[in-house]
């Protein structure tokens, strides 16, 4: 069996990745050029959202195009609690996560009767209903948005506790928080993947009727899966809200908060825990590089980066729908090293 050397390789890769991720922002800190840290922040947040989306989309196999609603719920919950009650953003994150999970469960349970395309449309429908609510609800200031006042806490610990980094360490601080949150999400979801939930989600994806026949309540577990996704999105929303220091409905309900993570997941490897991370690392820098190299030239603002995204997505869909992680890296690595390919019985993808 190939397991042990494969596992060792995986652990080395993980350690390398973590070290790289931790060290990445540091070289640029002294130059004062924090743009790359912000890009890193965006990569991390989208990777986290992608990992969360994988639960409902990749594992449970239900196409969900509306999780940005829970992103917004998280952002608003924490922002409101901070502004009106002075509640710490971390507790606010907890509150946001719980609120999102609760609302998700309530809203999604009736929708679980719908299958495939119909379910997907209904998630979009929820989003379309949330938009005018966000824009006109006075309690959250409607489309005027909610501003988060700076508290000016002292020191690294203080800033972390109030999730407000400022000045020269702003981007750096948020980067590491995002890094930590991504790590936490990956760790927690790995536990889920190996638990009863992980098995049940994939059973529902592969054959819902068959799953029901062995005692799986498909409706319940679809709701659980989506609620987990909602929790991750809510946490992401809180992080984003405090980074932006303001929460606007058009911003937090923006479709891009689902399309980018979904794209990252599909490109990287749908259904694989690390897929979205790889996808985000590939996609987002491309967009940023395009914006900077095209700068203010004649092609600026022409959405060239999105054209590139479109091309990438179409290529992946046509050629390798299971994503980049599903390519036989192990076999290629072995061939490159001159060793024969493993004799292990392996299926496709």
């Amino acid at each position: 069996m190939d397991g042990s050397s494969g596992r060792r390789r995986a652990r080395l890769a993980l350690a390398a990745g973590v070290l790289l991720g931790l060290a990445y922002p540091i070289p640029l800190q002294w130059s004062g050029y924090t743009y790359f840290q912000t890009v890193g922040f965006l990569v991390l947040i989208n990777a986290m959202l992608g990992v969360g989306w994988n639960v409902i989309g990749g594992w449970a196999g239900q196409f969900d195009f509306g999780p940005q609603v829970f992103f917004a719920i998280g952002a608003y919950t924490a922002a409101i609690l901070f502004v009106h009650v002075g509640l710490s953003p971390w507790l606010g994150m907890l509150a946001g996560v719980l609120a999102a999970m609760g609302i998700c469960a309530l809203v999604t349970y009736p929708l679980t009767r719908l299958r495939g395309h119909y379910f997907a449309i209904s998630t979009v429908a929820i989003w379309m209903i949330a938009q005018p609510i966000g824009a006109t609800w006075e309690f959250i200031n409607g489309s005027r948005g909610l501003f988060i006042p700076m508290q000016g806490a002292q020191g690294v610990l203080g800033a972390t506790a109030s999730l407000q980094f400022a000045g020269r360490t702003k981007a750096l601080g948020y980067y590491y928080v995002a890094f930590g949150l991504l790590g936490l999400t990956l760790w927690l979801l790995r536990l889920v993947e190996r638990s009863k939930l992980g098995f049940y989600f994939r059973a529902i994806r592969d054959d819902q009727e068959g799953a029901e026949g062995i005692g799986i309540d498909s409706r319940l577990y679809k709701v659980i899966a989506r609620s987990i996704t909602a929790a991750v999105f809510a946490a992401g929303g809180v992080l984003y809200g405090f980074w932006a220091l303001a929460v606007f409905p058009e911003q937090v309900l923006d479709l891009n908060w689902s399309t980018l993570p979904i794209m990252a997941t599909v490109v990287g490897g749908i259904g694989r825990l690390w897929g979205p991370v790889l996808g985000a690392v590939i996609l987002i820098p491309i967009s940023q590089i395009m914006s900077t190299t095209l700068g203010t030239g004649p092609l600026a603002g022409r959405g060239i980066d999105l054209i590139v995204y479109g091309v990438i997505i179409v290529l992946i869909a046509a050629l390798r729908p299971t994503g980049i992680l599903s390519l036989p890296w192990g076999r290629w690595a072995r061939r490159l090293a001159g060793r024969p390919a493993s004799g292990r019985l392996v299926g496709h993808g």
Binding site: R194, F199, A203, D207, E209, A211, E212, G215, I216, V346
Partner: protein, 246 residues
């Protein structure tokens, strides 16, 4: 005839699809540990009956009682929880999971911890002879192995009644012999009740203790295999002269 209440009891179950009456006033009982064969022409309503039994369809009239509980309108999950498991006419497995993972999914019904479920799954893989293929993706199995996997997975839910829907269809004679052997072992060693829908007379007659014959949605005969094989009505509707009992 024992005085113990039967494990499964159907009382006048009727199921309609628009103008078509798929099951009409079907009454039958299965006792604990019994093997009952369910035969009849295609379209007689056998699979519909199975679907009603397992909660995928709900009868328009009549009642289904299993182990004392009324399951007439129960959902499939609950039916499984109470102790009925099934295999499918067109074999269904979780294609993107391995053989072991498939059976673990079944075992999780009774053992919430993955570790315990995995142990139970291994046990069943050995029982059904699938242990060497534990890491193969279900989609890559042969038809015979897929059927065996279905049975292993169903057994993992620790049922008291196992419904086999045309388990022999598509198998070679050698595979069929192995399958029959497995069914016998399931009955002998695990003590389950079994209801077997089958078209292969050489399999279902020797296996069953009792045979129920459906035709056009109605029960037309019920009794020991030898009797059924001599029943004129059954011969005319389904068996044909070749299988007339001697």
């Amino acid at each position: 005839m024992s005085d113990v209440a039967p494990l499964l009891e159907l009382r006048a179950v009727t199921k309609r699809f628009g103008g078509l009456v798929a099951n009409k006033d079907v009454s039958l009982a299965i006792g604990a540990g019994e093997i009952v064969g369910l035969i009849g022409p295609n379209g007689a309503g056998k699979t519909t009956l199975f679907n009603c039994l397992t909660g995928y369809l709900h009868p328009d009239a009549g009642r289904i009682v299993f182990a004392g509980a009324d399951v007439t309108h129960a959902r499939p999950e609950r039916v499984c929880g109470l102790g009925i498991a099934r295999t499918w006419q067109l074999v269904r497995t979780f294609g993107r999971m391995t053989v072991l993972e498939n059976v673990v999914c079944g075992a999780l019904k009774r053992h919430s911890r993955v570790g315990a479920a995995r142990q139970r799954a291994w046990h069943l893989l050995e029982f059904t002879g699938l242990a060497p293929k534990a890491d193969v993706l279900a989609a890559n199995l042969t038809l015979a192995d897929k059927k065996r996997l279905e049975i292993a997975r169903a057994l993992a839910t620790e049922p008291r009644l196992l419904l086999l829907d045309e388990a022999m269809s598509g198998l070679t004679p050698a595979e069929m012999a192995a399958a029959v052997e497995l069914v016998r072992r399931i009955h002998a060693e695990l003590g389950l009740a079994l209801c077997v829908v089958e078209h292969v007379m050489e399999v279902v007659m020797p296996l069953s203790q009792r045979v129920v014959v459906l035709d056009y949605g109605e029960v037309i005969a019920e009794g020991p295999p030898a009797e059924i094989a001599r029943n004129e009505q059954v011969i005319k509707a389904y068996l044909g002269e070749h299988y007339r009992g001697r």
